[in-house]
Symmetry: C2
Subunit: 235 residues, 2 copies
C-alpha cells in the first residue's frame, strides 16, 4: 500500500489521528457547566462530545487557533481564557486507531454567551452533575474531569476564575464563581486582599445594587498578566 506523494515518509503514513478539543466552562446560577456539542458523525454519532476537531493546516497557525476556530464555528464565541490542558492519547480511545487529542481548557462569562448558544440546536451547556449520568463520546468525560480538577487548583492560587465573570464584576460575583468552581466557600476578606495585592484590577467609577448595599465594580487592567499567589486558599 504505497502511493506516490511528495516527500513521502513511512512514518507520516502511520501518524496518529490528531485532534483538538476544548472544555469550555461557564458558571451560571452557582452551577458549573460545560459546553457540549451533539456529534453529527461517527464514531459516536448523536452523542454529546467536546467541541473540537481536526487541525486545518491551511487555516490554523497552531493548535490554539484550531481550538478557537472550532469553538467559533460551533458556538460563535471566542473565550477570553483559553489554555492547553494536556494531551490524551492511546490505542483504544478512538475506534479508528491510535489517536491523540490536545485538550484545551477555556472560560467564558455566561452573560456574554447566553444569546449565542440558545440558537444553536447542536450545542448545549451541561452541568457536571447531569454529565455524570449521560453517555459521552470517547474519553471526553475523563477529559472534563481532569480539566475540572485543574481549574479547581488554579482557582486556589490564581485569579483565573475572573474569566467566568463579565468584564465588569463585583467581589460578590467573583466570590460566587470561585466557590462554584471549587465547591467550597471562601472568605470574602481573603478574596478582597487578593484583588488588592494582585494589582490586576481597577475600580470602575460605578456601583451596582442587588438587594443590599451597592457593590463596587472592578475590571481587569489593560495588558496585565495573570497573578499567581504563593499560597493556596485553604481546602
Amino acid at each position: 500500500m504505497v502511493c506516490a506523494m511528495q516527500n513521502y515518509d513511512i512514518t507520516q503514513f502511520k501518524n496518529p489521528l490528531f485532534t483538538v478539543d476544548s472544555v469550555l466552562f461557564t458558571v451560571v446560577e452557582n452551577t458549573l457547566k460545560v459546553l457540549m456539542v451533539k456529534r453529527a458523525n461517527d464514531p459516536y454519532a448523536r452523542r454529546w462530545g467536546l467541541p473540537g476537531g481536526f487541525v486545518d493546516v491551511d487555516k490554523d497557525d497552531d493548535t490554539d487557533m484550531t481550538a478557537r476556530r472550532k469553538l467559533a464555528e460551533k458556538t460563535g464565541l471566542s473565550p477570553r481564557y483559553l489554555e492547553q490542558l494536556q494531551i490524551f492519547s492511546g490505542i483504544n480511545r478512538d475506534p479508528r486507531g491510535f489517536s491523540v487529542t490536545s485538550a484545551y481548557s477555556a472560560l467564558v462569562a455566561h452573560q456574554s454567551v447566553e444569546t449565542h448558544i440558545e440558537t444553536v440546536e447542536q450545542a448545549k451547556w451541561i452541568s457536571l452533575n447531569e454529565l455524570s449520568s449521560l453517555p459521552v463520546a470517547f474519553d471526553h468525560k475523563h477529559i472534563i474531569d481532569i480539566a475540572h480538577k485543574r481549574l479547581q487548583q488554579k482557582a486556589l492560587y490564581s485569579m483565573v476564575p475572573v474569566y467566568c465573570c463579565p468584564e465588569q464584576f463585583t467581589v460578590g460575583q467573583l466570590k460566587n464563581v470561585i466557590e462554584t468552581i471549587i465547591e467550597k466557600s471562601i472568605q470574602r476578606k481573603s478574596l478582597m486582599r487578593r484583588i488588592e495585592s494582585s494589582d490586576m484590577f481597577e475600580l470602575v467609577d460605578e456601583k451596582v445594587h442587588s438587594g443590599g448595599r451597592s457593590a463596587q465594580l472592578y475590571k481587569t487592567k489593560k495588558d496585565v498578566s495573570m497573578t499567581h499567589f504563593e499560597r493556596n486558599l485553604s481546602v
Copy 2:
C-alpha cells in the same frame, strides 16, 4: 493525489506531523544538565536536539510509552519521573509543514546513568549554560526553557526534585538538587520540615559521611504519591 487505503479519510491525510520529545534533566555537581542527542537525519541533521521521535502505533500504547521507548532506545535508561509538559505546534516549527510535538519533562539521578551515557557517542548531557550558545534543532531550545521554568515552579511546591537524587539520599543532597534547579538557596530547616510533613519518605537505617557529621539517609516510601504543598518556598 488519492490512493486506495482502508478507511481513507481526507482529514487524516493532512494530519499534522506528530512527534514526542523529552527534556530529560539531571543535576551533576551543582549544574543542571539536559540530555541532547545528535540528529542523524534532516531536518537539522548533525545538530543537537531533544531525544524523541514518532509514535510507533504498533509498539506504543500511548505517548508516555513513546517517550519512554525513545529515551530507552537512545540512552538505555528509564527515568523514574516522566510527565507531560505541553505541546508545541505550528506551521513554521518544522520545514516539512504543520507539526506538533508533545513535550515531556523527565528527571534522573546522574548517579544512575553515568555509565550508560558515556558509551553513547550520539547522546550528551549539556548544561543549560552551554546550551544557550549552541545551535539546537527546531524550537527545542524554547521547549527546554519552558521545561526548566516549569521544573523550577514544581521545585517550589513539591518534592519532584527528589527524582534527581539516588534512591537513598541525604537532606544535603536534596537541598543541593533543589538549589541547582531553582538557582536560589533555600533553608535547610524548611526542607526538613517538608520531608517530615510530606510523609513520603522513610529513614534508612544507615548514615553516610562527607566531611562532617554523618547524614541520615532517606528513601521514598513504596507507592506514595507526590505531595503538593499549599505554599511555595520563597523566591
